[in-house]
């Protein structure tokens, strides 16, 4: 048994079997992370380069930690401190790095499809760590892992994705994954932040009413308002957004049940989610981060089989 793909470019081209294999392997790596020595020798013959052409805290640290926990050699690279600022192309940059015998590439890029382009031109295994507004597959996987850990299963689970669906690669990866694994998805947000034909294109429910959506769901995945991707005004002010779509304690108390609150981070406290909700027992935001390392270890481990 192995993955059906050489690269992890997105959830879109994974099979349900691939997803199950990654998640069950991640559960074993989560146990490794509880040991006195939180490290296994599996990837000690593998060199991984982390190419971050866009800023990141969580994902980058999580990948670096996952690589080190697997005993891989790692090189980290950020665009601002490199020859990219001298005008070198993406393919030249990567080919130069690969000529130094690198086995796997973890890449984040602001252009959607950048890892897909690389995959057609280079032999190394590529893991997409977020490409523009397309996909963020390891986030989708760790969200799924966290939902299973908290609620037992994805099958039949009702998941609401709330906020800026239009610009969110996290939303897209989550939708692909949850659909493949038998969960039901509702996207909720202001009409300007929800793509027009998403209901038909991605097989999700669409709602513009936050209260109704929360009443319907078992799990609410609250997205960050991506201020850096808003080059036109899609809502009038942060305060107005927060009043209509912010998750607060009063709203959660008005529901007839306790739902699970998730957020991929970084949080804009007081905008899409209030501090008392983010820090409450209902929220599994920090467990998501913890699970991220185990899930990325699983992805690296399973793809390393193919890279040799």
């Amino acid at each position: 048994m192995s993955l059906s793909t050489k690269h992890l470019l997105g959830i879109k081209n994974l099979t349900p079997e691939d997803i199950s294999l990654i998640l069950s392997t991640a559960a074993q790596f989560k146990e490794v992370l509880q040991r006195p020595v939180k490290k296994v020798p599996s990837l000690r013959d593998i060199v991984v380069v982390n190419l971050f052409f866009e800023n990141s805290t969580r994902t980058r640290i999580s990948f670096e930690l996952a690589e080190k926990r697997l005993s891989a050699d790692t090189i980290s690279f950020s665009a601002s401190a490199s020859s990219v600022s001298k005008g070198e192309t993406l393919l030249d940059t990567v080919n130069n790095i690969l000529s130094m015998k690198v086995d796997m590439v973890v890449m984040r890029h602001s252009a959607s499809g950048a890892p897909h382009f690389l995959a057609q031109h280079i032999p190394a295994a590529i893991i997409n760590a977020g490409d523009g507004i397309n996909e963020h597959p390891t986030q989708g996987l760790l969200d799924a892992f966290s939902i299973i850990e908290k609620t037992g299963s994805l099958q039949g689970r009702k998941v609401a994705i709330i906020g800026d669906i239009m610009h969110s690669r996290v939303a897209q990866s989550n939708i692909f994954l949850l659909n493949k694994m038998g969960a039901e998805v509702t996207v909720c947000g202001p009409p300007t932040l929800i793509p027009k034909h998403i209901a038909a294109a991605l097989n999700v429910n669409v709602s513009y009413n936050l209260q109704e959506t929360l009443q319907w769901c078992d799990v609410a995945n609250v997205l960050r308002i991506q201020l850096e991707r808003q080059n036109q005004v899609l809502f009038s002010s942060l305060r107005e957004y927060s009043l209509a779509y912010g998750i607060n304690r009063r709203l959660l108390d008005s529901l007839h049940k306790e739902i699970v609150i998730m957020h991929p981070g970084p949080i804009n406290r007081g905008v899409e989610i209030d501090s008392d909700v983010a820090d409450s027992k209902q929220s599994i935001i920090l467990q998501q981060v913890e699970n991220g390392v185990a899930v990325r270890m699983a992805v690296l481990y399973l793809l390393s089989q193919r890279s040799n």
């Binding site: 392997t25 790596f29 020595v37 020798p41 599996s42």
Partner: protein, 174 residues
């Protein structure tokens, strides 16, 4: 297919292994038992059950170890990882590792590496149901042996367990 141990013989052998462990570690006060995933666990479950029968009311520390991430053939083939569950400290304890068949010794080499990531045991002993003599590729030998057999490389030794295979038997497959 040639049968080496039938179900009744297997039951007696397992009981003997349990008694031998007890004989060497009376009371099991500073001793823990760890079965190797996936198939060693069927044996260790039965040995631990037999030991618990002999020591009623006394705690017997028993864990399970998966060595997938420590294998030396990791680039050849993908192995599916199983659950590791060692809910106690092995620091300064005597650890009895249990597996079904000892063949090349490579699994036990990996198990020793994995074990050391949980602490520094005082001593490690090895208990196996079947010892395939003269086929070792590493210098590893068992302390407790259910049955020693001589077999050639092309043969396979298979242990069948009730929970997994619907019957209990040890056989050589040609």
């Amino acid at each position: 297919m040639k049968s080496i141990l039938t179900a009744p013989q297997l039951a007696i052998t397992i009981k003997r292994l349990a008694h031998q462990v007890l004989e060497n570690h009376l009371g099991l006060s500073n001793t823990v038992i760890i079965g190797l995933q996936p198939r060693g666990v069927f044996l260790s479950d039965q040995i631990v059950a037999a030991i618990r029968q002999e020591l009623p009311g006394q705690p017997v520390e028993y864990g399970k170890l998966d060595i997938t991430f420590y294998r030396d053939d990791i680039r050849k083939e993908l192995h599916i990882a199983n659950r590791t569950d060692i809910p106690f400290s092995i620091e300064n304890k005597t650890v009895i590792l249990i597996d079904d068949v000892l063949y090349t010794g490579r699994t036990i080499r990996a198990a020793l590496d994995a074990l050391l990531d949980f602490g520094r045991p005082e001593k490690v002993e090895l208990c196996v149901l079947i010892d395939r003599r003269f086929s070792r590729q590493y210098p590893i030998q068992p302390d407790y042996i259910g049955k020693s057999i001589d077999s050639i490389v092309s043969q396979k030794v298979k242990v069948y367990w009730q929970e997994k295979d619907g019957r209990e038997e040890v056989a050589i497959l040609d």
